[in-house]
Symmetry: D2
Subunit: 461 residues, 4 copies
Amino acid sequence: MYDDKVREECGVFGIYNTNAEGDYLAKQTYLGLMALQHRGQEACGLAVNLNQEITFHKNMGLVDEVFSEEVLSRFKGHMAIGHCRYSTAGSKKDKDAAQPLVINYAKGQLAIAHNGNIRNVLELRAIYDEKGAIYRTHTDTEIIAYTIAKQRLSEGSIEKAVAKAMHILEGAYSLIMMSPSKMIVARDPFGFRPLCFGRKADGSVVFASETVALDAVDAVYERDVMPGEIITVQHGEIKSNTENCGQNGGKMCIFEYIYFARPDSTVQGQLVNDSRRSAGQLLAKASPVEADIVIGVPDSGIPSAIGYSEASGIPYVEGFGKNRYAGRTFIRPDQMSREAAVRLKLNPLRKYVEGKRVVLVDDSMVRGTTNKIIIKMLREAGVKEVHLRMSSPPYKYPCYYGTDVSTTSQLIATDHTIAEICEEIGADSLAFLQLSDLPHIIPDVKDIGYCEACFTGDYPI
Amino acid sequence: MYDDKVREECGVFGIYNTNAEGDYLAKQTYLGLMALQHRGQEACGLAVNLNQEITFHKNMGLVDEVFSEEVLSRFKGHMAIGHCRYSTAGSKKDKDAAQPLVINYAKGQLAIAHNGNIRNVLELRAIYDEKGAIYRTHTDTEIIAYTIAKQRLSEGSIEKAVAKAMHILEGAYSLIMMSPSKMIVARDPFGFRPLCFGRKADGSVVFASETVALDAVDAVYERDVMPGEIITVQHGEIKSNTENCGQNGGKMCIFEYIYFARPDSTVQGQLVNDSRRSAGQLLAKASPVEADIVIGVPDSGIPSAIGYSEASGIPYVEGFGKNRYAGRTFIRPDQMSREAAVRLKLNPLRKYVEGKRVVLVDDSMVRGTTNKIIIKMLREAGVKEVHLRMSSPPYKYPCYYGTDVSTTSQLIATDHTIAEICEEIGADSLAFLQLSDLPHIIPDVKDIGYCEACFTGDYPI
Amino acid sequence: MYDDKVREECGVFGIYNTNAEGDYLAKQTYLGLMALQHRGQEACGLAVNLNQEITFHKNMGLVDEVFSEEVLSRFKGHMAIGHCRYSTAGSKKDKDAAQPLVINYAKGQLAIAHNGNIRNVLELRAIYDEKGAIYRTHTDTEIIAYTIAKQRLSEGSIEKAVAKAMHILEGAYSLIMMSPSKMIVARDPFGFRPLCFGRKADGSVVFASETVALDAVDAVYERDVMPGEIITVQHGEIKSNTENCGQNGGKMCIFEYIYFARPDSTVQGQLVNDSRRSAGQLLAKASPVEADIVIGVPDSGIPSAIGYSEASGIPYVEGFGKNRYAGRTFIRPDQMSREAAVRLKLNPLRKYVEGKRVVLVDDSMVRGTTNKIIIKMLREAGVKEVHLRMSSPPYKYPCYYGTDVSTTSQLIATDHTIAEICEEIGADSLAFLQLSDLPHIIPDVKDIGYCEACFTGDYPI
Amino acid sequence: MYDDKVREECGVFGIYNTNAEGDYLAKQTYLGLMALQHRGQEACGLAVNLNQEITFHKNMGLVDEVFSEEVLSRFKGHMAIGHCRYSTAGSKKDKDAAQPLVINYAKGQLAIAHNGNIRNVLELRAIYDEKGAIYRTHTDTEIIAYTIAKQRLSEGSIEKAVAKAMHILEGAYSLIMMSPSKMIVARDPFGFRPLCFGRKADGSVVFASETVALDAVDAVYERDVMPGEIITVQHGEIKSNTENCGQNGGKMCIFEYIYFARPDSTVQGQLVNDSRRSAGQLLAKASPVEADIVIGVPDSGIPSAIGYSEASGIPYVEGFGKNRYAGRTFIRPDQMSREAAVRLKLNPLRKYVEGKRVVLVDDSMVRGTTNKIIIKMLREAGVKEVHLRMSSPPYKYPCYYGTDVSTTSQLIATDHTIAEICEEIGADSLAFLQLSDLPHIIPDVKDIGYCEACFTGDYPI
């Protein structure tokens, strides 16, 4: 991983408006995907439905690279869905894997945008293999397509087929789909990945992974899609099917609050920025240290650093300048030193940190390589002591529900003690958020539990 | 159709050499595709097999647009196949339809390059639909993939699966495929589309739609693949399976000689240029006219014009200058007048034609629009009389075996008499090659019959 | 202007190392330009000198769009200069205007990268016109080239020619140049635009508009180039010519501290972030208001907001989520509403601001359109009162020294009272930094005065 | 040189119509440049004049690569000029050298498209250097611009300035230019390079290097611009200035007939195809040989081969298949063998040549490398004897008037006897067109002499 972070795999977006004209919905989808770009920067795409015919455009690249005014103008319709993605960790670039996946099958076209990860892919693939299935990619999405297509053969409607498919598909999936006549949205019964919807003043119904995408198209948030819920939009009417709901309390990914989601998103009622600030406050209480200043690693470490400062009384200072263009450099760490890559991105403010005992707050640690470089840079800038505080517990177990950490080999916390890590990265002290504090970072979340398997190994499935 | 011509749908190429190093075979495939570019200019691609793993690159565009030195350098392997294509007439651009099609299925990867057209696609699709099949394109190739994949479940080897699939697939198919360990080449029992192979001095085995692709990689032609034959190359050994051969005399497409193939290709032992010259000679005998000069419509009308001149004694003259860059203009006829498009491409040589009675030889007529414009241009250049001679019989029936004329609505000869056409296009006289002369344009063809369904409506299947 | 900000016109970079191998300096220049990208996002380029021959690459676009690994690899040399730029306000896109400008003249090649604005361009052009000069652009840089080239005819060295040219050129210019054998760096006698240099551990001498570019290539800052100074590097030796120094106290642009420079840059000894924080503190003292929270407009308003909070005791809160990908959208405000463009970029955190009396701190106001939209968005998010505080005095006069505000028509403060502006943008109160506080935001600046003409109309030239 | 041919350096085009609307003239210029593409394939561009303001678009690449529908649509105006070019032999790619060159000078804008080569560039440059001139390129065109700009300072109109400049500029130049209010066209007093004009039915006046460009836009040829003539178009009126005419008989480049011009162009009244055919006939008479067939090297050798056949009675046969896509391969001869490059392009028709004694007709020989490969390929195809006949005299002297052969080192004929060349390339016999036959290949040319300096070393200047 370029910057030593765990990656969310995808963002999904959908918009429906029977009265939409021209490329209006394609442009709204573009805006929505721009707002979800942080959830997947490797590839993106959109599909529109015009008079029951679905067309699409997708490619490797950022949203503003894949789409242009001219491209969008070709996608007219009254429904549209969009997707942005990372590739799964370790896999090669799968050229045909950009989404939405648009297929034909016995009942016509189906477009699928998927955020998540199916656990029983191999079992399902074996079943479909027996029927002579062929695959163009190694993605879960193609397995989802087969599963729904197969169910649709015996079920009378696409939403019933999806409902049945949800009994077969195990794992994480927030799905936004289009059939020739409907938009169908579904969230797995555990609700691992977020999914919400809202409405625009012009009547458009909007679905998205995060509320920031609703904000971007000026839609008003209504509620989160419930774990297990299927929502169908047809002829402008919204129907909810809850037959797969309530199987469990829900297991929403806690990491959305720690790192994945944008701080200005509200996930299940909880403002993400607030979670991060709370984590900082809790850290300050559980792992205090005598220091002169608190600084955060931009961007996601900043709210926690502010929280740490608030709770500890140690002044918060902007410790780093950030090059907001650095994210796009084509120079990969293996072409120049990894250190140069970090240096291009972050620049310690010597004046503020020199001679200081510093509390450095970051959100999460994967391999620790970037933390090590940042600490080295701080010492070169004259910092006296570096006390690293992580606003999440040690990341020890792979995630099978939609992120890119699929083996423990990437995780320093799996086989190192905190003391060992501290020495390895060169910090004067190191502390993590306590597991028992996790519930306290999401006080506003109601009616749904959370998944902390990456910290505990206690997998819901 | 831009230039009022019937289109071949594809060209295929394959090369195998266990000792090949680096991107050598990818570059050979590039050369082979360049030589086959006339068979398909809309999209192209290649797939290579390196240590049983197949990777690919394909896109919309000409061979030299889709590939670059840099792209080719990434495709190392000891087997490679390539493909260039047109889209089917009337269909929209099918984005995922570029070939080779590379799939995964129960037995691993399979790469397929296909030239032809499957007749019973709808019947087969209905069967696969029942099994829950999903499709990414509307191409026959995906149906071929399903058919072979399904057979492979019960057959012990890929070549046996292909042999069985050939009982199921009806229509035209010249296939070049790669499994993880083999190259498999097959030609339908009618042998509609051409397919031949040869060998390079370095031991490489080369398969291609036309001999010009063998020439381009300096391979020596060995023979044409027989109708119904399956050839498998593994561990450097070539095996021929002829169990599907000999079901009929073969029905090779006669239009390959008239227009599709390059004049310097030898198809089934017959030099294409010779066929065209013969057609001209036969035309001169059957449809003589008193005239001052014979001119041909570049490029494919030239050999027939020369033949006409040889047989009639009327001097052959280069009647048109040709802009060899015009083929690539992005300006479509609907953006400027169709006439301007023709004018950009062809330029009558006034000095040679002014005041003359001209025999104008062209290869085939679809809608007649271009002929009409050319005749108008000739009259503007001072031509006294235009006697149009077509080196093929009237094109009256759609082709279902691998070209882009699938309905009669595009064919002027279907519902017009020769006199009507002559008046419509403004010629002083018009004659076509006689059906009975067709066998005489391919005197060197042995052991295989030919398909003339587009002229007679007498379909082999 | 897309986001209603005044624009710096350029960033310059240069690096010299006689022992540099291959494309090392080109890659360092790439890193330097990445760090200076905020100073000009419309076009960029670099030139290298290999064995006295200068070659270049430049184009419209961001640094990471114009350059690729492959492009950089073609630029080998032991000297390199780079440039990034905006176009001048109001001018059309001047295709040949990307820099470095590389010319030939009587004495060979000369490459010029320029940040600034020449005041007496018209007078000089009239003189050169008389000699039959021709121009490829409307840029000052071409006039600089003529001026230096002309002086070089009578002066014995390029540095002497530059010294003479500095008597002729009036205005702002920070220049980094290469002759076949030397790197020549010059800053106008007023020192309007910043320019500094440092050294890398490997002996490379590095010049740049801002220290962040030194940081990006791991160079250690030595000092700022003095107003009027010419520095020449040849055979690895640095020589300073100060004959044009000391003519006045220097008039460095104060706006570099307010908005242009990156907060982590140190300009003339003054950390930019500190200036902004101080401005906020000063604002709080001079223009206090009763409020619940202080928020800043990202990014440049944040440090001032923190300063305001520090001095006022009103808690600082992150009021906006920011889409860090929004900067690159191809959708221009005239294609969708300007409001949608702002919404894509900034997202109020309703939870933090709802029901609150808010101090909103921003850095500077040009037309006020964006402030108006932001205030509207805050009110929609439930804010009770908005007290806008600008961390700079009212911008009333055009700048002729290297920015893109060349007429007063773009400036709301020129012909509106503060009360009128307050009403126009919909704030509850509005206050600007006091002119008399300006010196207090740059306490660490020594030995150079500053230019505040844009606030006072009191132009140094 | 990729294909061992001497290169024309440029094609020029201009069109004027006060009533033109929108991008009509830009599109006509596109068509004209497409027709002139053979004269320069490295770079191209156009400039339009709308209400006295000139804008332009130019780049490296073929006409259909540099322009698109979208690009053309931005260039509205009532005058337009276009240019396509090769780079000068041996020079590096000069990035800013694409034309038209658009400059500003004392009297406003001037756009220049130039075909030719100025002999006294160094002398003129020395003069301008003294005035402090700066140059962006190494092109003659910039020197032309300086010369005209300088004259314009003292002359009352642009056409008078051009008339004076023609006394100063020595060498070859066919110029099409635009000032803010006029189109100005000039041909050097020797008339080295062709230039003609015509009119469209809609009143547009069209200028072009060759008549094929008039044909492409459906303009009717009026006459060739006379050597030394200046034509000015303003307010729809055409004025001819002949004060520089008649200084000599004219020295039009004979190589236009041999290789440069398209066969369907008529240059100074002479159809180019006719010249080539005549050359073949003359060759047959002067250098007969006993043989079975005559074949030509496509494309420019074909008419001469036909002529040879006509005069000798030896039957003409199409000896080669040609890949009409091969011209654009990105694979350069140094990346694969030069032989593979030729093989991709030309394919001997074994059936026609095997066992035959062949007269092989080509147009001209530079280094002879391609002839050598072609002869080798013919022998591999079973040819018994190869008698090479060149339809031009031995090319022995560099050309200084607008082609890319500027040193004798590239020319095999300079220091080899015919016998030596014959052995080197492996022919059984070799003969060139006789110098004394040159006048006979242009019987229709009136009122102008020709330049044969490349054959005789007898330079007009």
